[in-house]
Symmetry: C2
Subunit: 195 residues, 2 copies
DNA sequence: GTCTATACTAAGATAGAC
DNA sequence: GTCTATCTTAGTATAGAC
């Protein structure tokens, strides 16, 4: 039999996840209480346990979902072809995706140490998979002779750190649009890899 | 009359600061309790209040001291001269200083949101002063005609983000020494600014 | 599915003995 | 200068009524 249509469980669940995301991003996982999350949703603290076994799972599911979406989105955006074409696409993709997922990205970088060891290992695997995407592009560029790099691993980490920085200062109301920012970064990255 | 030489206040104070730094860096400000800090020092929680009015001040003093040391250390290291010479020095200085102050740097980036608004404003001013050091070097390079940059502010933030990334992955036991890492970054930064 | 009530633990901070 | 004891508040999580 169909679920009672007046039931609000299917509405409440996403509200819980959204409130957790917003609050964790703003105040940090450790500083946010289940009571605060409940208050944001408009239910009592006890009711949250209908949707999550505990606070840790709320954090882990948030991060896991974000990383899965990131990897899936790149798989769809990857244009293939020459390394330089892929690098260009990667830089634009990374900036665009991160800016539209500000809170999840912020949490994924700040709250790693609040994951249990098993959950941490899982997220780390996904993060490494993403780094490998960029490193493979750089390696391809080396093989093509397009890029001259002293160290592809270091360059990968340097580029990702640089791109992530955008999230900490970009404002919709700032003097540059996302596209202008992305354009400047594409150019800086190209120069940095000697392309 | 001289302070009693058996008195341990002058020993305990730095122990409190060191314990707070270590614990805040490892677990995050919000997740660390005054009791944990006291346990690390080997005193009772109440005794901490002889050295700090509250937990917030412990965090703020830590960050303020770090930023002051950073700015003072650069003032001593600044070689002056042409932009390229200064940029080279800045990159090496930033990596070396950050790697020898791992915990304080980590805290200074992660715990900004746990500062009271007044304390936050103070730290932000100092952080901006440090960014201005780099931006002024880039502007000088532009004036000299050494660098070709689309945007000195963006480039400043991109370079600092890239350099800060080193702190998240560098291991003393890794395959590269600090000097090798710094060398690779100097080269990447040079290329990125079109020098 | 949500509420109230509550068990249990621990937080930051203070008072007063030693 | 440090300890013990304590105040007050708030945390996660559960039980059972509705």
């Amino acid at each position: 039999m169909a679920r009672k249509s007046g039931s609000s469980a299917e509405k409440t669940r996403p509200l819980v996840e959204a409130a957790a995301k917003r609050l964790f991003a703003r105040h940090g996982y450790a500083a946010v209480s289940m009571r605060q999350i409940a208050a944001e949703v408009g239910v009592q603290a006890g009711a949250l346990y209908l949707y999550t076994p505990d606070k840790q799972s709320l954090l882990f599911e948030l991060m896991k979902t974000h990383m899965e979406e990131l990897l899936a989105a790149w798989a769809k955006s990857d244009p293939g072809g020459a390394a330089d074409r892929q690098l260009h696409a990667f830089v634009e993709f990374h900036i665009a995706f991160n800016l539209q997922s500000l809170e999840a990205v912020f949490i994924s970088y700040m709250e790693l140490r609040n994951l249990t060891p098993e959950n941490f290992a899982h997220i780390e695997d996904m993060r490494r998979a993403y780094e490998t995407v960029l490193e493979d592009i750089l390696k391809a560029g080396m093989a093509e002779g397009t890029y001259q790099l002293e160290d592809t691993k270091l360059t990968t980490l340097a580029i990702i750190a640089m791109l992530n920085g955008v999230n900490t200062w970009y404002k919709e109301s700032g003097r540059l649009t996302r596209e202008q920012v992305a354009g400047i970064y594409v150019e800086m990255v190209r120069r940095a890899v000697g392309g």
